[in-house]
């Protein structure tokens, strides 16, 4: 498993750069991860990130966009504005979680 340095600390990531140990994540790291993909986090971003973290802790898997919309109460349109083009992947990336499964 590759180790990379983000925000001047080592973190374990997969081939696509997603964190493999959600325990290595904190909010400072999220800010650094977001900067890597050109996003500056505002309150609306944090609401989505916190939902992702809580839902992952409760269910053991990264929620799909639909779940963020239905259970997290954030409209899909807004998610596309906050995390352009690939909101599901980008949100998981910033939240330090595996890429959402949903797709098999």
């Amino acid at each position: 498993m590759p180790v990379t340095t983000i925000d001047s600390r080592p973190v374990h990531v997969d081939q696509e750069g997603f964190l493999t140990d959600p325990g290595e994540w904190d909010e400072d790291l999220a800010t650094a991860l977001a900067a890597q993909i050109g996003i500056s986090l505002g309150e609306a971003h944090w609401k989505a990130i916190r939902f992702l973290r809580e839902d992952f802790a409760a269910r053991g898997e990264t929620p799909t966009l639909r779940r963020v919309t239905v259970a997290g109460g954030i409209p899909t349109k807004e998610l596309f504005t906050l995390f352009p083009q690939k909101p599901a992947k980008k949100l998981a990336y910033v939240a330090g979680l595996p890429k959402p499964h949903g797709c098999v």
Partner: protein, 427 residues
């Protein structure tokens, strides 16, 4: 008398009752299956209806003829399950009690969930082939389509048989070439995924096949609505894809019965343990086939392999022993690629589709992830196998769990789907 109740007499439900009727003594167990009608459709055949390869009568049989003697088939609509009182209420006022419940209510296309899909163009220039009526209607529409933009579209994952939209696209390409129309048609594949398919190696292979056939790929497209006046797909990030003929796979959702019973997630799928298919909420409830939330393909092969594991587990459970079988998410799918050829993919929760050979008794090995005529013939032969071997619950010489035998694992650094980090995808 103990009672097993199964909701849904499709692929999974039929196999479950037939297998368990043989295994459970009639003097001790009552087995009942409920379905709303007596028509069993061979759903993999829907793919071939639009091109006239199959006729409607080849994909339909009477449901009751596949249900074993000693199983009670109840034709009725289910109102809801009351999992606290172990009871299923039917819309006609009857109620059926159970000791164990198997939910096998499948998944259904829901064109009503995308604004504009059911508007003025539905079944005029917008079609689906995931329903019997849709596939039959599309056959008529295709016969009069001779130029323009043919757009094949997937609304959202997961969908039943995730390879079917690609198969339809390959078959449409070959069909148009045969009729000398391919140069007059722009063929476009629109998907919410980042590539042609979900899994990296297969996605690269299938993506290359789209390119060879000059089929345009529009990835990462999450449809927000359909503009049925201008005939456009419009995404959440405001991209537009115009069409003259749209073949869409609507959002797939589990049964409304599951939702009404409070047993489903946001797509009405029943949350279960992915290895035993036991409900996470009720120990005496299982969900099998497309109805569950397991992260596997919604496909007949998954239903088949998981039923094998489930039946053995269930017999242990009702004899008071721990369930020892563990389903691995095994799926095995023929992929039609046109011109009388096909691919075969074989994978599970942990192993993506790989190239190599798939060992098959009697017939001999089939090639994995490679276009061959044998794979196409395998797909066609499967219809007979489905009606005559699979549904009756006769043994098929295929292992339930995936095997690595014959598979070739590519070296590190092999192609993966998309680019390494989300940041690179921006550049």
């Amino acid at each position: 008398m103990r009672r097993l109740l199964v909701l849904g007499g499709g692929t999974a439900g039929t196999m479950v009752v037939n297998r368990l009727r043989r295994a459970l003594p009639r003097s001790e167990w009552e087995i009942t299956v409920v379905d709303r009608d007596d028509d069993h459709r061979y759903q993999p055949g829907y793919l071939f209806l639009p091109f006239g390869t199959y006729t409607p009568d080849q994909v339909t049989r009477k449901r009751h003829t596949f249900i074993a003697d000693g199983v009670d088939l109840v034709l009725a609509e289910v109102e809801r399950v009351d999992a606290d009182t172990n009871e299923v209420l039917l819309t006609d006022g009857r109620s059926l009690g159970y000791d164990y419940l198997v939910i096998a209510t499948g998944t259904v296309p829901r064109p009503d969930q995308t604004p504009g899909m059911l508007g003025s163009q539905w079944r005029r220039s917008i079609f689906d082939f995931y329903s019997y009526d849709g596939a039959v209607a599309l056959a008529t529409a295709l016969r009069s389509f001779d130029h323009g933009r043919l757009v094949v579209h997937v609304t959202e994952m997961p969908v039943k048989c995730p390879v079917a939209p690609l198969e339809f696209t390959f078959l449409a390409d070959a069909w148009l070439r045969d009729r000398g129309l391919r140069d007059r048609v722009e063929l476009v594949f629109v998907t919410p995924l980042s590539g042609a398919f979900t899994q990296p190696i297969a996605s690269d292979q299938l993506g290359a096949m789209l390119e060879e056939r000059k089929i345009l790929l529009e990835p990462d497209f999450m449809v927000e609505r359909i503009d049925d006046v201008q005939k456009l797909l419009v995404s959440y990030d405001e991209r537009e894809v115009p069409f003259d003929l749209l073949v869409t796979v609507p959002l797939n959702m589990g049964s409304e019965v599951v939702a009404r019973s409070g047993l489903g997630d946001e797509l009405n799928y029943v949350p279960v343990d992915k290895h035993t298919l036991q409900s996470t909420a009720h120990d005496n409830v299982f969900a099998i086939g497309d109805a569950s939330d397991i992260p596997a393909s919604k496909a007949g092969s998954v239903a088949h392999f998981s039923v094998e594991v489930f039946v053995d587990n269930f017999l242990q459970l009702v004899h008071g022993r721990p369930m020892t079988g563990s389903f691995d998410g095994h799926a095995n799918c023929f992929v039609e690629t046109g011109d009388g050829k096909g691919l075969l993919i074989d994978f599970n929760y942990d192993t993506q589709p790989l190239p190599g050979r798939y060992p098959l008794p009697v017939v001999g090995p089939l090639s994995l992830l490679k276009e061959t005529r044998a794979n196409h013939l395998g797909k066609l032969a499967f219809r007979w196998v489905y009606w005559n071997v699979l549904l009756p619950g006769r043994p098929l010489p295929l292992p339930a769990l995936m095997s690595m035998a014959g598979k070739v694992v590519p070296a590190e650094g092999s192609p993966t789907q998309g680019s390494p980090t989300p940041s690179r995808e921006e550049d």
